[in-house]
Symmetry: C2
Subunit: 333 residues, 2 copies
């Protein structure tokens, strides 16, 4: 690798450090996403699995296991499990959101159809389930079962909360824990559990993943109002057009005067949007300092993530995880 390490991004450093393990994980993913009977399955999954995601979640599992001195092979299965759960969630999200773009590419449900997205998602989830059972570790199964329930509950909660101006920051956090943080936290935690790490370290890994996930999602919501479609694969204003009450808007609504409140009620709750509304929304976010306050929240969560890492052994991976926490919010600072 010719990159100056000091200049490479933390997830690239992780990828380089964990290269052998990730190669094995990718081989496992390819082997398990096939289907003897249904060729449609690898067609749909290849699209997502090869789409150039950063494989952040499986790297977290490998890193957590390595950090805790694990020398077996079950962490590879757990890493693949976590990526399958993530991919299944993306497929079901695509059905739900009817968004036209993910990672800068058309979503599976435009290339194929809703049917395939739902059922192939179910297939990947069941493959994840098989993989984790192979570890024969009941605590790991318990953690992943609970994470799955939190994910699904968060997604359902988002359905009702996303367009309701009464949604406050507590509800937002419950949604974000479900959408993002639950799987980040579980990905880290199972790495420690499979390594037989002491309880304080397992808890620290959970706390790190949870805070990293919240920071990541808040940053993502912020990017939606200030990113560039080319660099992020998102279109600026997607969340607004999809009437999602994300953190910047929640903060602006909390300070809205009656006229502003009527604007948010019309555009988000009723979904009656006109030309110029996105620009006006962004102006309101600036007027109330909502983007800056959201950025401060993202930084606070990143800081919490880094703090959790102190309970873990001194190790090059610990430094990379620390830098990763800075990096997920550096996108928006």
């Amino acid at each position: 690798m010719s990159l100056d390490k000091a200049e490479s991004k933390p997830h690239e450093q992780l990828a380089a450090h964990l290269a052998d393990g990730m190669e094995a994980v990718n081989a496992l993913i390819r082997a398990r996403m096939t289907s003897r009977h249904a060729p449609r399955i690898p067609e749909v999954t290849a699209h997502l699995v090869e789409a150039g995601g950063k494989r952040l979640r499986p790297m977290l599992t490998l890193a957590a296991a390595d950090l805790c001195g694990y020398e077996g092979e079950h962490h590879l299965r757990l890493a693949a499990t976590v990526e399958f759960i993530h991919t299944a969630t993306l497929l079901h999200d695509d059905v739900v959101d009817e968004s036209g773009q993910r990672r800068g590419r058309p979503t599976a449900n435009l290339l194929w159809d809703n049917k395939s997205s739902v059922l192939v998602g179910d297939y990947l989830f069941s493959r994840a389930f098989q993989l984790m059972v192979e570890t024969e570790n009941l605590r790991v199964l318990d953690i992943l079962a609970n994470a799955s329930a939190t994910i699904a509950e968060g997604e359902v909660l988002q359905l009702t909360a996303a367009q309701d101006l009464a949604t406050d920051e507590d509800i937002y956090l419950a949604v974000v824990r479900g959408k993002t943080a639950a799987l980040f936290a579980a990905a880290c935690q199972v790495g420690g559990v499979i390594a037989g790490a002491e309880e304080a370290r397992v808890q620290a890994l959970y706390d790190y993943g949870d805070a990293l996930g919240v920071a990541f999602q808040i940053a993502d919501d912020l990017l939606d109002y200030q990113g560039q479609a080319q660099s992020t694969g998102k279109n600026v204003g997607d969340d607004f057009r999809e009437r999602k009450l994300t953190l910047p808007v929640i903060k602006a609504v909390a300070q809205a005067d009656p006229e502003e409140r009527a604007f948010w009620a019309r555009t988000i709750e009723k979904g009656q949007q006109e030309a110029g509304d996105l620009d006006h929304a962004i102006a309101l976010l600036h007027r109330h300092g909502a983007l800056e306050a959201t950025r401060a929240d993202a930084l606070a969560w990143a800081s919490k993530a880094k703090h959790a890492l102190r309970a873990l052994p001194d190790h090059p991976l610990r430094l990379m995880l620390t830098e990763l926490a800075d990096y997920v919010v550096a996108r928006v600072t």
Copy 2:
């Protein structure tokens, strides 16, 4: 119960015999389908869970455990697990099929929306996963993980196979195993496993559930061409209108002359249906004896199910399971 036992239906006999256990299962289902954060979840699930399904699958689990002398409580969790998996599958099926009726009532995705059906299905599946982990029995988890994969694979296979005239009886059987028999088989098998039954009995329970499920699904496909909407909750010809290549049609296509083949290609593969096509389809099924041959297959599978039961102990429940196998095909004879 005032019914003459000899005249009550086998699933009613099972329900009476297993009444205490099923009451506990129903309480568990109600407790676990709630959600602290997302009130939408019980709204959607109550519709399905209270919709008057026969609870056949959880009764199979309780019956299998009882038959094998189980005296613990984990079979209640497994019975609820199986019903949750079934309900999750129904919710995802409703999205997929866009059918307007299930069990004679509007489907969840017409009352709510596709979003809720997908995500609440995911939630129920994750709740099932939590319940089965509570049994702390790795073999049970392995069986249910494999059943989940078979179900999902069968559903995906059906997407591609259902409208392809090249679909033969082998592919049909793979679809049916996925759609129906895998969960019947697992429901029976885990009852034996949790009871610590000897391997021959566990295998017999699997074989019974598998054959019962295939018989049930073949009978269901047959009913679609000869049932009454009032009594079955299905509309005659639904499968034809939805362009599903079910067993009667597969048998008729196998014997079709070029003109008949063109008819099936137009109506099923291309989906160009006109007034009178359903009547013509039914006439073709009769011309080739396809309904009679399908009925014979259903009876043969029911017979296979009954044969498997011989490996199990003599017990009133064994007789009820025998009669159940007759009953699922009696609907069409």
